[in-house]
């Protein structure tokens, strides 16, 4: 039968990094960038990117669409896993096209979602502005 968990993790990889995957660049708190996948150093690191998030307005309970991207990455493809409290930067295409210009985001205060059992991490991004001089 083989290792079922390994099979599930592979399937997760196909889902996240397959046809709908988009190139993602991570910059960790040590300033080191990851552009290529740990699983395949000759391939760009890919992730599933949702450009809009649905949140609930805490005052009214109504659903509000927020233009904050959410990036899902395969854990095994990462050189370093983002941990709570760390400051990470993520560069993703501005539009859902692999060749689009990249924009720089910060990982927001929202906790990183990570499923060690299923093998993915989910990062909620926020768009910063340039520090005034």
């Amino acid at each position: 039968m083989g290792d079922l968990r390994a099979k599930i993790e592979q399937d997760t990889g196909k889902t996240i990094e397959g046809r709908f995957g988009l190139p993602v660049e991570l910059i960790g708190p040590d300033g080191v960038s990851q552009i290529y996948s740990k699983n395949d150093p000759e391939s760009l690191l890919q992730g599933k990117i949702l450009y809009d998030t649905v949140r609930q307005n805490p005052d009214t309970g109504e659903s509000v669409i927020i233009e904050d991207p959410v990036v899902t990455l395969r854990r095994s493809s990462l050189n370093r896993i983002p941990l709570p409290g760390e400051v990470w930067s993520v560069r993703i295409p501005a539009e859902p096209r692999p060749d689009a210009d990249k924009e720089t985001y910060l990982v927001s205060d929202l906790p990183v979602e990570g499923g060690r059992s299923i093998g993915f991490v989910r990062l909620y991004l926020t768009k910063p502005e340039q520090v005034p001089e």
């Binding site: 910059i27 708190p29 040590d30 300033g31 080191v32 960038s33 949140r55 805490p58 927020i66 233009e67 904050d68 400051v87 990470w88 930067s89 560069r91 720089t104 910060l106 927001s108 205060d109 929202l110 926020t126 768009k127 910063p128 502005e129 340039q130 520090v131 005034p132």
Partner: protein, 232 residues
């Protein structure tokens, strides 16, 4: 009433002293975009919240003491700040990128600082000795800011919106000037059954007391002699 004049005066005092650091509104705005509150476009909304009027015998026919509470709602919006140039420059070293990330300022941190600064500015303007009468030409007693409160930061996409409220109290005198009814307009009807005429209806309008005759449907007004006559 006098509190309206005082509110307008407070708005003028704050508006004159804003110096581009905030924007003053004389009412509660119904929703706005977080990006419209960025930087020095942070809002200050001044409005009458409530008033206490201690009962007094002289107040029945003369001036009335009024202790109003004005609400000053403050709203700020911020985005996280980071040295984007260092992060996007291909020639940046890991050390430079690490420094940029370490010096990131989160949106909630900046919003907290911005609101604290706004509170300080507003408090100093209103407590300035030159504004002891809140800009009015006549004395305003007991000007005081008894309370300042801050709400929970609200993430709105890439922005963090933070609100807070200051309360401003004072003591003024309201002079009842009377209200002239407008003849020919419909009155406010309150129906109840009169004691000695169970089939009638008595209503109270803003013009006079009247009865509706059930049989004829005529409006009967009190001619002040105890009788009711048909209203023309």
């Amino acid at each position: 009433m006098k509190f309206i004049e005082v509110k307008e005066s407070i708005i003028n005092v704050l508006g004159s002293a804003a110096a581009g650091r905030f924007v003053v509104f004389g009412y509660q705005k119904q929703g706005q975009r977080a990006e419209d509150l960025l930087g020095n476009k942070r809002n200050v909304q001044v409005y009458f919240g409530s008033g206490e009027m201690p009962e007094s015998k002289s107040g029945l026919t003369g001036p009335v003491q009024h202790d109003p509470t004005f609400k000053i709602d403050c709203m700020v919006s911020t985005k996280a700040q980071v040295n984007l140039s260092a992060l996007t420059d291909p020639s940046s070293t890991p050390a430079e990128k690490a420094l940029a990330l370490a010096n990131t300022r989160t949106a909630s941190y900046l919003a907290d600082n911005s609101l604290d600064e706004l509170f300080s500015i507003i408090w100093n303007i209103l407590n300035d000795g030159r504004n002891v009468d809140l800009g009015m030409d006549e004395p305003v007693a007991s000007r005081w800011i008894p309370r300042i409160s801050k709400d929970t930061p609200l993430p709105v996409g890439e922005y963090c919106v933070l609100t807070g409220t200051m309360e401003l109290t004072c003591s003024i005198v309201e002079e009842p000037v009377g209200e002239e009814p407008v003849l020919g307009t419909d009155g406010v009807h309150t129906d109840y059954i009169a004691k000695d005429e169970p089939d009638s209806q008595m209503g109270v309008s803003n013009e006079s007391t009247f009865i509706i005759d059930d049989d004829t449907g005529d409006y009967l007004i009190d001619d002040e002699s105890g009788d009711y006559i048909v209203e023309d």
